[in-house]
């Protein structure tokens, strides 16, 4: 039992943590009616600033919050382009991702004279288990806020039927801003878990497609909190399998190629998307502003 926990349950939960943070953020944003392709960028910026501020303050909690705020700051840039100046959401999201690729190397050169990584974070300033608990708390909070709070109800309507919300006297624009900010903050936290919790420094292109996997999880989870989290766990499982199967010979004489396991989450997403889950589950007002 303990072996199972140590070798499977815990690793899965650990690698799923950043996915869950980012996916829940993306879910809120998409539910408010704004397409969120920029998660990848928020994660990257979050993980960089998380590492930098943890190094600076020698305090992972402070670093974690600053990671979230950094993601939120980038989300604000996205929001200005999309909500204020009517930029196309997909184009702007792609721009955010490109922009975010440049931020860490640019700043790390100035601050550390390195090309895109930070010095290692001392062990005493690293997280050991806290983000895991935070993640579990976040899932509970998101689930409740989503279904049982005024905020959740109104945000859902902003994406599903903005006119109904507007005619009930609630500003759709502000709800969407809130959705964008939440996605930035949570994806920033996801970045924080990558650099402060799962490893001990920021390295170049640390997000490595997790933003897109998180987005895939939102879609597989039909834009609902618990199914989204389950989809994240599924992707966490494939990642764990991939780590554990490295160099393992299952059949024949060659080890299982990691590449095939790496593409599994994306393959699952396409198959499911083309199969059962169509567009019908997406919020009706998604992408219209």
């Amino acid at each position: 039992m303990e072996v199972l926990f140590d070798s499977w349950v815990l690793p899965i939960l650990r690698v799923s943590t950043p996915l869950i943070f980012a996916a829940l953020g993306g879910m809120w944003c998409e539910r408010s009616g704004i397409v969120q392709i920029g998660l990848e960028g928020f994660i990257l910026v979050g993980s960089f600033f998380g590492a930098v501020s943890t190094l600076y303050f020698n305090n992972p909690y402070l670093g974690f919050i600053i990671a979230g705020l950094a993601g939120m700051a980038l989300a604000t840039l996205y929001g200005i382009a999309v909500l204020r100046y009517r930029a196309n959401q997909i184009v702007a999201g792609t721009a955010i991702n490109l922009f975010a690729l440049g931020v860490p190397p640019f700043l790390s050169k100035i601050w550390y004279d390195s090309t895109g990584s930070t010095p290692p974070i001392p062990t005493e300033a690293q997280f050991h288990v806290a983000p895991l608990y935070l993640m579990i708390a976040l899932v509970v909070i998101c689930h409740h806020a989503f279904y049982y709070s005024k905020f959740g109800l109104r945000l859902r309507f902003a994406g599903e039927h903005p006119k109904a919300l507007e005619s009930a006297g609630v500003s759709v624009g502000f709800k969407r801003w809130q959705g964008v900010w939440i996605s930035g903050f949570l994806a920033g936290l996801a970045g924080g878990t990558l650099s402060i919790y799962l490893s001990s420094s920021f390295i170049r292109n640390m997000s490595a497609g997790r933003g897109f996997i998180a987005l895939a999880a939102v879609i597989l989870g039909k834009w609902k909190p618990i199914p989204t989290v389950l989809a994240c766990l599924l992707f966490g499982l494939t990642e764990t399998i991939q780590i554990r199967l490295q160099g393992v010979v299952l059949w024949g004489t060659e080890p299982v190629p990691v590449q095939w396991i790496q593409i599994l989450p994306y393959l699952i997403t396409i198959v499911v998307l083309a199969g059962a889950v169509g567009r019908s589950y997406a919020p009706k007002g998604l992408g219209t502003s």
Partner: protein
């Protein structure tokens, strides 16, 4: 006491005047009908009251106080609520959530007390005799009639005293209509004021206390319902002078039975997206105009879509559809074109035009495979040829501005329509489907368009004319078929044309 008074209210959108002069009053605790033909400005009038469009001039008095309503929220606070034609309901969400949205019991930003809301709603439903209790069901599981009831409960929950219903019966079955009016009468007993927008005389006469008639953006007058009758109201609605009467030549059809039918539809039934057709049988002969009338939402739109694109319906349709005795059930629009069918679609902006392309490009739409417009090089189009035809049509139809390079989106409605009709006639079609050819078109263009359609008829083409304007149908058609509930309710030959009789069948009445 007057809850609402309109005093010389006017509203226009750019150059289009929607409401010229609205003056009427609504007494508290009554059902007040607001009737008029399509496009008379009823909906705009109510949207002005509800604050969706602020009025340009004039005054609105709410409970004797002059009030300027600039947004729906303000209207709601004044106790005015509206059930829109398109419901403001999010389908995947529960009924309860849809109702309480924006007025959730509980503390901000905390949790919602759904139990409290449920209790209150059950109370409301009981007090007003609405017999509804599916609070936790997603809206998508409800019938249209139930969704409408949810909209009404929403207004009651928001404590509205004045309920505006915009064409509430347009989407309902007769059974649901009956229930709706029972509910409305009960609401009146409980002291609510109801404004009912409609163009169905029968229901207005039966259920209202007062009725205000609108015509072309103006209020013609208000009557006590008990002291008026169908004929009087109809006359007020239509006006004495008919705005457009076709004066030109009408070639007499020899004996219509001698001419064989070129297009036949037999026993056609299918369920479409919003409407369905049930057992529709029609014949169309050369040299005649077959008018299709009916209240919007009774199956005509879907029928037209089927006629012009049967392939899309191939899997869900039963019955026959033949042209020159060949089945065309599997035909795509381009196949039909090759059989000499041409189309003027219902909604020219949504279905007919590429607004950011010039006239030549628009002219090629649907004709992009026409051999006349192919270049010598395979796969290329000959735009010079198309452009020359556009120049000719600009002259023939007096399209303005008279340059083929003008974007169709920058032309007026009338000129856009002329372009669409010119395009439909360009291939010298033998069969022509024309839908609402003069909707939103200025008077000058109407005459020209009618003449063009009539010329085609006189030249021996077979034409099906869809229109919601009864006058237009009577003016142009040789026969009129009326749709009601997806069926052909009645068919009239030219000698039997009588606006009142036809109008009666449009409302579901029998021919005799």
């Amino acid at each position: 006491m007057n809850v609402i008074e309109f005093k010389r209210v006017a509203k226009s959108f750019g150059d289009v005047v929607a409401n010229r002069d609205l003056s009427f009053e609504v007494k508290a605790g009554t059902i007040h009908g607001l009737i008029g033909e399509n496009g008379a400005g009823k909906s705009t009038a109510m949207k002005v009251l509800f604050g969706i469009f602020p009025a340009d001039s004039g005054e609105i008095l709410i409970r004797k106080k002059p009030t300027r309503i600039t947004n729906p929220v303000q209207a709601m606070r004044l106790g005015i609520g509206m059930v829109h034609q398109h419901f403001m309901l999010a389908e995947p969400e529960t009924v309860l959530d849809n109702i309480i949205l924006g007025h959730e019991p509980g503390w901000f930003p905390g949790l919602i007390f759904r139990d409290k809301a449920r209790k209150e709603l059950t109370e409301i439903s009981k007090n007003y005799g609405l017999a509804f209790d599916k609070w936790d069901v997603p809206v998508s599981h409800l019938s249209v009639g139930e969704q409408q009831r949810v909209e009404i409960i929403k207004l009651l929950y928001q404590r509205s005293d004045v309920l505006i219903l915009d064409e509430p019966t347009a989407v309902l079955t007769p059974q649901e209509v009956k229930e709706l009016f029972q509910n409305l009468l009960r609401l009146k007993q409980e002291g609510k004021t109801i404004i009912l927008i409609s163009h169905k005389l029968k229901e207005v006469l039966e259920f209202t206390d007062y009725v205000t008639v609108m015509r072309r953006g103006e209020t013609v007058g208000t009557k006590v319902t008990n002291e008026t009758n169908e004929d009087e109201l109809a006359e007020m609605m239509v006006g004495r002078k008919v705005s457009f009467t076709y004066q030109g030549i009408r070639r007499i059809l020899s004996d219509s039975t001698e001419i064989p039918s070129i297009l036949k539809v037999k026993g056609l039934s299918f369920k479409g997206l919003s409407e369905s057709c049930v057992d529709v049988t029609l014949n169309l002969r050369q040299g005649e105009i077959l008018g299709i009338g009916g209240v919007q939402g009774n199956g005509q739109s879907e029928f037209l879509r089927f006629l012009s694109n049967p392939k899309e319906y191939f899997h869900k349709v039963s019955g026959e559809y033949t042209i020159r005795d060949q089945s065309v059930l599997a035909d795509s629009p381009l196949d039909l074109r090759k059989r000499g069918v041409s189309l003027v679609p219902e909604d020219r902006l949504a279905e007919g035009l590429l607004l950011q392309q010039d006239m030549t490009e628009n002219f090629l739409l649907g004709q992009h495979e026409d051999p006349r417009y192919q270049s010598k090089f395979p796969g290329l189009l000959d735009r010079d040829a198309a452009r020359a035809r556009v120049e000719q049509n600009i002259k023939a139809f007096d399209i303005r501005p008279p340059y083929p390079t003008v974007w169709s989106g920058r032309m007026s409605g009338g000129n856009q329509q002329k372009l669409v009709i010119a395009r439909a006639l360009d291939s010298k079609p033998e069969i022509l489907f024309v839908a609402h050819p003069t909707r939103g078109v200025d008077v000058g263009a109407i005459e020209l368009i009618h003449e063009a359609i009539m010329n085609e008829r006189n030249a021996g083409r077979a034409i099906i004319l869809f229109s919601s304007e009864l006058e237009e149908l009577i003016d142009l058609s040789d026969r009129i078929a009326v749709f009601y509930g997806g069926r052909i309710q009645a068919e009239f030959g030219r000698k039997e044309f009588d606006p009142w009789k036809i109008g009666k069948t449009m409302g579901g009445g029998n021919k005799e």
